[in-house]
């Protein structure tokens, strides 16, 4: 076991941090530490410009092959990039769906034409993507997709009709990938297709969803005879589920250490307040702060095990517990923040509803244990896939 990174990796770390400190300044200073989860709606224009700057520096899509403009970066290098990016206060990436989901999906399953059409725009930070998976009736049961796609033989276009939900940055995106049913006679995992659809067209309507934080970073997206080309389906009709599931496996945890860096700044802030306001003398609070510290370090070593494991990319046991681990930890941190703040926790930064950072943390972390697979679904996955317990019986869909 080797906990330390190699000298070459540390040299790479130095390059990343030097570039970030040189570039995340001037006009971009304002977006430092902004635009993360729960804050994705802010400084969008500046963050779009930042994508361009990253691309010029060669820091978008570093895990992609060199042939498509990437650096063929190793897992370690990708981890280091994410860690340094978070340490430098790099803003939430408006290009992350394209870079981490669309790109790898096209590299694995896309046609040559699709790669040539879409990868350069993502690599350049110029074409932004959003995702169209969840539907009002398809949350945890993602395969209950009702959005449908029909091939119009005359115009050689796919016509898409239905509704997607929880789509972040829909207004800002140029494209959306959509899971839609191509064979209306099929149910569940079968008869689905994976489509690449332009957002800027009459058939697409976006409606923001105002959250409990008073802000709106998620949207509903309505497709009413929306159009994409006959060659904008990835793979064949009927392969959509396979492609969608493959996509979920691409991320491989390289951003987890960066995420933990953000968590650490939140915990540090809470500890600072506890030291200042006397909450840190309360034995019950002391126990919880120690637990939070242990929990965050546990996430780190869970991640390192996950990143060091299975070179075949298969999901190992550490990977299966990761979502349940971090979401529960983060939600508890939000409550700890409120309890450390004490009575002050209730007071807004400004009327009518401007929340402080820790108030946002408290409220938005209630979403952490829901999106991306609820804690209950995660427990089912652990029990069934890691422990081999019987699968849940399925009802009629």
């Amino acid at each position: 076991m080797q906990l330390r990174f190699t000298e070459a990796d540390e040299k790479f770390r130095g390059q990343v941090s030097d570039w970030l400190s040189d570039n995340l300044s001037g006009d971009f200073a304002v977006i430092r530490h902004r635009g993360g989860p729960g804050d994705e709606h802010v400084y969008v224009e500046e963050r779009k410009a930042w994508e361009g700057r990253l691309a010029e520096g060669g820091w978008t899509c570093i895990g992609w092959p060199e042939a498509w403009g990437g650096k063929d970066a190793t897992i370690e290098q990708q981890v280091i990039f994410n860690e340094e990016y978070a340490r430098a206060g790099g803003p939430g990436r408006v290009g992350h769906i394209g870079e981490t989901l669309t790109g790898p999906t096209l590299l694995a399953f896309g046609s040559e034409l699709q790669k040539q059409r879409y990868l350069p725009g993502i690599r350049a930070g110029k074409e932004l993507w959003c995702q169209g998976y969840s539907e009002p009736g398809a949350g945890s049961d993602l395969s209950a997709v009702r959005t449908r796609a029909v091939l119009d033989e005359n115009t050689q276009t796919w016509r898409i009709t239905g509704q997607k939900v929880w789509t972040s940055l829909a207004h800002e995106s140029d494209f959306v990938f959509v899971l839609a049913r191509t064979d209306l006679a099929e149910k569940g995992h079968k008869g689905l297709g994976f489509f690449l659809v332009p957002m800027n067209q009459p058939g697409v309507t976006i409606r923001p969803i105002t959250q409990l934080t008073g802000t709106a970073e998620f949207n509903e997206v309505f497709f009413d005879d929306a159009v994409c080309g006959s060659d904008d389906i990835v793979g064949e009709p009927g392969q959509g589920w396979k492609i969608a599931m493959g996509l979920l496996g691409f991320e491989r945890g390289v951003s987890t250490l960066g995420q933990q860096m953000l968590f650490q700044t939140e915990l540090d802030e809470i500890i600072r307040i506890a030291r200042e306001n006397g909450a840190g003398k309360n034995p019950a609070i002391r126990q919880r702060i120690a637990e939070a510290h242990i929990g965050l370090r546990t996430l780190r070593y869970n991640s390192l095990r996950m990143l060091s494991g299975g070179d075949d990319g298969s999901l190992n046991r550490e990977a299966m517990i990761y979502k349940l681990c971090w979401s529960s930890w983060h939600r508890n941190l939000g409550k700890l923040a409120m309890d450390v703040l004490g009575p002050e926790a209730e007071i807004l930064e400004a009327a009518p509803y401007s929340l402080g950072r820790l108030q946002s943390l408290f409220l938005f972390t209630r979403a952490d244990t829901i999106y991306g697979g609820t804690n209950q679904i995660q427990r089912n996955i652990i029990a069934e896939r890691a422990l081999g317990m019987p699968r849940e019986p399925r009802g009629e869909s």
């Binding site: 076991m1 034995p283 120690a290 869970n302 681990c325 652990i382």
Partner: protein
């Protein structure tokens, strides 16, 4: 960065697992529990001659294998799974204490004895309730020919069967470390009757016991006790992770066979989610275990600070202590009625988890130690 086992370490794990599956089943554990020593003597002899695990941490120049804490952890994690009643961790604890004095001829002799399978037990506290220097009750008084020891030590891992004892004693404003033979006059050594019978512990009474100058290992040992205890917590953590894993495995196996309302109870979400929570705790504690073992190995090479070691050990003790107790306790619940019978092993893990979480300081005490690092010092970061 490669936070996974080497091929050699994987081979060690497999060989330990294979060996214990064959030699350390439930009936062997239960036979040892009801024996006088509480140890499976034949198995221990076999380990000392065939497997040589007692020598892992003993440097090669003293006849040991010269391997690291991580290798010990690999063995002890499996022993925790099987509740193997042998005094391995007791000997390792003494080896860790002796390694702090490795330049002393007596320490070298004792390390060589350990490698040969002699049982040297570490006697440092009466634990009322302090496990650290505050808990040391034996007092050493300087005498013409050496030292005179008086007082008591309890909770000595495998101490009742010791061939020799390493006794920590108070001296003026410091701690001393002495070799004591169980047979010498003024020494009474007995087994503590304990609720958990899988982990025998000794108690030592000293009344005017005379120790020669040659048997005095150190009169300036106070600074070492803390690091030896931190490293010992890593040993305990390894057994706790194994104990938690076995509790999970046995519970999953049981609920997979138990049928109620026409289906196995493993098919009910209420049961599955409990098992998932158990696995989350086991894997999380395991991650901190391997981390703490790496830090421990670096501490033995003096490439990390004692602060890092104490922090790693406290995090592990909190996490693994809670994991073992949660998994064994939840395991009893998942077993239903048979869980509280003597016949099923889950109750043995439950008792073992309880005794281990209290040994060297409860999880909440470890968290208070971390809280002090985070909240009371001058700097904001413990890491």
């Amino acid at each position: 960065m490669k936070f996974s086992f080497t091929d050699e370490q994987l081979m060690l794990k497999d060989s330990v697992e294979g060996f214990l599956t064959e030699h350390s089943d439930s009936s062997a554990v239960r036979a040892a529990m009801s024996s006088t020593s509480g140890i499976d003597e034949r198995l221990w002899q076999k380990i000392c001659t065939d497997m040589y695990w007692q020598a892992i941490l003993v440097p090669e120049e003293f006849g040991g294998l010269g391997l690291g804490l991580l290798e010990v952890v690999i063995v002890l994690e499996q022993m925790g799974r099987f509740l193997t009643p042998v005094p391995l961790s007791a000997g390792v604890q003494s080896a860790l204490a002796l390694r702090t004095l490795v330049e002393k001829p007596l320490a070298q002799t004792m390390l060589a004895d350990l490698a040969q399978g002699q049982l040297v037990a570490f006697a440092h506290t009466a634990a009322r309730p302090h496990w650290d220097a505050q808990g040391v009750e034996v007092v050493a008084t300087e005498a013409p020919n050496g030292w005179v020891l008086d007082g008591e030590a309890r909770f000595i891992a495998s101490g009742n069967s010791a061939d020799a004892l390493l006794v920590v004693a108070q001296i003026d404003n410091n701690l001393g470390l002495f070799r004591v033979a169980p047979s010498q006059s003024g020494v009474t050594l007995s087994k503590m009757p304990t609720m958990d019978q899988t982990r025998p512990m000794g108690m030592l009474g000293l009344s005017g016991a005379v120790v020669s100058v040659a048997d005095c290992l150190s009169t300036d040992w106070e600074d070492h006790l803390e690091s030896v205890l931190a490293l010992s917590r890593v040993l305990v953590g390894a057994e706790q992770v194994g104990c938690a894993q076995a509790s999970l495995d046995q519970s999953v196996a049981y609920v997979g066979e138990r049928v109620q309302f026409g289906r196995t109870i493993a098919s009910y979400q209420a049961i599955k989610h409990k098992a998932a929570d158990m696995m989350l705790k086991v894997e999380s504690a395991r991650s901190l275990l391997y981390y703490a073992a790496c830090v421990g190995d670096e501490a033995l090479m003096e490439t990390v600070t004692s602060h890092d070691l104490r922090e790693a050990a406290a995090m592990l003790a909190s996490s693994a202590g809670d994991a073992a107790f949660f998994c064994a306790g939840t395991g009893i619940q998942l077993h239903g009625g048979v869980g509280i019978t003597e016949e099923y092993d889950i109750q043995l893990y439950f008792k073992r988890a309880r005794s281990m979480e209290a040994y060297l300081g409860r999880p909440d005490e470890q968290r208070e130690l971390l809280a002090a690092m985070l909240l009371d010092g001058d700097d904001c970061h413990a890491a």
